[in-house]
């Protein structure tokens, strides 16, 4: 049975890093939580910040800062955006969550190889005349190792 589209399918949660606006489709997001105590793990995959237990499951957390080549600095508003990918949780640590916006119909041509952004970016949309880089956390596990 195919899933019915929901209102959230066309909503995007945005956050800013290094003056670039990033976004995740809201229907992929499970929860947004404060940064928990993370257990570091030896690095194999670029941008993996550590692990923590979420609802009993060992959950990896990627760092947007690390993926953009910066160090992590958890400010007051830092949080983890948790995605549920086929019953597997993946977190993305961000400086702060900006806003929840409706998806713009203006999609920009986005060439991955030409981008200076992280391998997270899968698409780019124009929102209030500013580009929003839509990202997919799980894809980094395939491309970032």
């Amino acid at each position: 049975m195919s899933e019915q589209p929901t209102e959230l399918d066309h909503m995007i949660v945005t956050f800013v890093h290094d003056e670039t606006i990033y976004g995740i489709y809201a229907n992929h997001i499970m929860e947004i939580i404060p940064v928990p105590k993370l257990t570091p793990i030896p690095k194999i995959i670029i941008g993996v910040r550590g692990l923590f237990t979420y609802k009993g499951a060992i959950t990896p957390v990627m760092s947007l800062a690390q993926l953009c080549g910066h160090a992590d600095s958890d400010g007051e508003n830092a949080c983890i955006v948790l995605q549920n990918n086929d019953r597997t949780f993946v977190g993305l640590s961000v400086c702060s969550v900006n806003e929840l916006i409706a998806e713009s119909s203006q999609k920009l041509t986005y060439t991955k190889s030409a981008s200076l952004d992280s391998p997270l970016v899968i698409q780019c949309v124009l929102q209030y005349e500013k580009p929003v880089m839509i990202i997919d956390v799980e894809s980094t596990f395939n491309s970032g190792s």
């Binding site: 690095k43 692990l51 990896p60 993946v90 596990f141």
Partner: protein
């Protein structure tokens, strides 16, 4: 409204649950039959009982065509039940027919959940069964079993009216604890029956009482004491009436004013109950959480120096937890043989269709693995087995021409190794030609470096790319390039890995390794720089401070070795994890699979009971391969520690011979 009315929902669900169980047993009987080439009386009796139950149950929920078709199958089985020798010489045809019947029941049972369900046509199957009945009844019949009109068969003297019956039992309205009464009735009748099944079957379920009150208790009985059964039913003070479903004859009920004896025997036991898998998983998780909570509690008490005061209580608690864990493990495991039937069936059917001669064996059928894992592995294994017959095994003529026996061999081996289950699907067919794979990969623009730089192992990985196939034509089994990528995805989702070994003309093996749920393990805990780690105590030979064995350490070929009776390689975990070396280090000598090695670690911080949790699927395979990390466990203060599995570590770096991690 669909085929079933809404008030039949629970009855249909119960039917489906029962049919799934029965068809599993049905297929197991057929697997034994097709493997041994002859049918045991016990299996024929089981098949007869199953078919009889399905006949009655399907009639009960209004599936008349299914019931009629099943009735004819029952007639056919009756012939073999009376004389199994009559099947001799007809084994293959009868097995095919039984499999077809089983497929039909399974497909219908599954389709019943759909809102737009409507019963499938049974005519072709009915005709096939009738043809066999004609054949065995001695009627005019050709070897091809032409579709002649089906005469009414003479009634078997042991017809089901005499020795098999289905009753709908209605309990009195004032009868309390109706499911308990039903259970007691079944218990009372069972000694007089050759077989007895009931719907509902599980009287402990909350819905059972409601279902019996609404639809009655359906009893399917095979017995030689039908009069005794009727007498017992008539004598029960709780029964209002009972109806013989086959004859639709109502049996006399006791006068309404017969006093209903009230006793309070609500305690009863059944030997087997069906439990939803989610509940077992819930039990597994909560048991793991309890053990973790115990570990954290003990660690907190140790920090406060109050362990001694509660030592006896802690010991008792640990013992109870160990028993609980053992029981939960026992219910969540199933033998590999429990999923073997479809594999035997697949190979049998494919061998016929593809006109190939295939001997199929399963090694390790007796091994017990987590039921969920077995279920999840079923689809990739079926795909690999299908490929082995379709692409691997050559035709008998080709095999003979290549100097091989006409019979090809396909096997599935299952083993547990180092915290993982290993499944190997092997065939002695034509093998995979790496040159053909590389050429196809080039055509599909999959190459990311010069052709000459690809190792054989890298070339074989291309077959897991979506849409990759070297087959020019597709058949009913494969060739469309769909599947191997699905195998890879399924294995990835379990945090496992898949490897291919193949030699042209000799055969191919697909080796899948997936982590298995481990029970709690006693571990040594230590840190490597910022990373907390655990190593299972069962694989530890000894622990010593680095400075105590400094003189026994040697660097050979750029790797570190320890002289400890013999020279053993040292895995420098600091180097592996890219952490700066510590001034205070320990050496842990480990062993696994007949090999020994040493780990260079930080200071040992103590012992810990660890409940292993799998790493997230996207990390699991990499960490297993690179670091021998099989999972992780929650330790004090809610942190996680990596569990270093000696078997994995030694296996992954076996043959390097330098003791140096690369």
């Amino acid at each position: 409204m669909g085929f079933f009315s809404t008030d039949m929902e629970s009855l249909v669900e119960e039917y489906q649950r029962e049919a799934i169980e029965l068809m599993e047993e049905f297929n197991n009987c057929l697997t034994r039959f097709s493997r041994s080439g002859s049918i045991a009386q016990k299996d024929i009796n089981s098949l007869f009982r199953i078919v009889h139950t399905i006949k009655s149950s399907s009639a009960m929920i209004g599936l008349q065509a299914m019931s009629t078709c099943t009735h004819r199958m029952e007639d056919l089985l009756l012939i073999f039940r009376d004389d199994t020798k009559r099947i001799d010489g007809n084994e293959s045809r009868i097995t095919d027919l039984l499999y077809t019947y089983g497929d039909y029941i399974t497909a219908e049972t599954s389709a019943m959940s759909e809102a737009d369900f409507s019963p499938s046509a049974t005519e072709p199957l009915l005709e096939a069964i009738n043809n066999e009945l004609n054949y065995f009844a001695g009627a005019e019949s050709t070897a091809e079993h032409s579709a002649a009109s089906v005469p009414e068969l003479p009634k078997n003297p042991e017809s089901e009216e005499r020795d098999a019956a289905t009753y709908k039992v209605i309990f009195r309205d004032e009868c309390n604890m109706i499911n308990v009464r039903a259970f007691q009735l079944v218990k009372q009748l069972r000694p007089h029956c050759t077989s007895l099944s009931s719907m509902p079957a599980d009287f402990e379920k909350k819905s059972a009482a409601e279902q019996i009150a609404k639809n009655g208790l359906i009893l399917t009985i095979v017995t030689e004491q039908i009069d005794e059964i009727k007498k017992l039913l008539a004598a029960s003070p709780y029964i209002k009436e009972y109806l013989d479903i086959d004859t639709e004859e109502k049996a006399p009920s006791l006068p309404v004013n017969t006093p209903v004896e009230e006793d309070d025997t609500s305690g009863y036991t059944t030997k087997f109950v069906t439990v939803a898998w989610e509940k077992i998983q819930g039990m597994q998780n909560i048991t793991g959480d309890l053990i973790t909570a115990y570990t954290l509690l003990k660690s907190g008490m140790r920090e406060k120096n109050i362990v001694k005061e509660a030592e006896d209580d802690l010991l008792a608690l640990r013992k109870f937890l160990a028993v609980l864990e053992m029981l939960v493990d026992a219910v969540s495991m199933a033998p590999v043989s429990s999923i073997a039937s479809p594999y035997y069936r697949l190979i049998r059917d494919m061998s016929k269709t593809e006109k190939k001669q295939v001997e199929f064996s399963i090694f390790g059928e007796e091994l017990e693995l987590d039921r969920n894992l077995l279920d999840l592995m079923s689809s990739p294994l079926i795909h690999l087995l299908r490929n082995a017959v379709d692409h691997g095994i050559e035709s008998p003529a080709e095999r003979l021409a290549a100097g091989k026996p006409a019979n090809g061999k396909v096997s599935l081996s299952v083993a547990i190794f180092g915290g993982s289950a290993r499944f190997i699907v092997a065939d002695d067919g034509g093998g995979i030609d790496p040159e053909i794979i590389l050429k196809k990969a080039k055509d599909l623009n999959l190459l990311v470096k010069p052709e000459s730089e690809y190792s054989q192992s890298e070339i074989f990985k291309f077959i897991f790319s979506p849409g990759f196939t070297t087959n020019k034509t597709a058949n009913q089994y494969s060739g469309r390039g769909v599947g191997m990528d699905v195998v890879q995805k399924s294995v990835d989702s379990l945090g496992g890995s898949v490897d291919v070994k193949s030699t042209v003309g000799v055969g191919t093996s697909f080796i899948i390794e997936v982590p298995v749920t481990m029970s709690s393990t006693e571990c040594l805990s230590f840190s490597v720089g910022q990373y907390p780690c655990l190593v299972p105590a069962r694989s530890v030979d000894k622990v010593c401070a680095l400075h105590d064995v400094q003189d026994n350490l040697t660097i050979l070929d750029g790797g570190l070795w320890l002289r400890d009776k013999t020279m053993i390689p040292v895995f420098d975990l600091f180097e592996m994890f890219s952490e700066p070396s510590s001034t205070e280090c320990c050496i842990i000598v480990i062993h696994a699979a007949g090999q020994r090695a040493a780990l260079l670690t930080g200071v040992i911080s103590g012992e810990q009971t660890a409940v292993e949790r799998p790493l997230p699927p996207m990390l699991a395979s990499l960490y297993r391969k690179k670091f021998g990390v099989s999972g992780c466990s929650i330790i004090g203060s809610g942190k996680l520690a990596l569990i270093i599995n000696s078997e994995l570590l030694l296996q992954n770096h076996h043959g390097e011979g330098t003791g140096h991690y690369e």
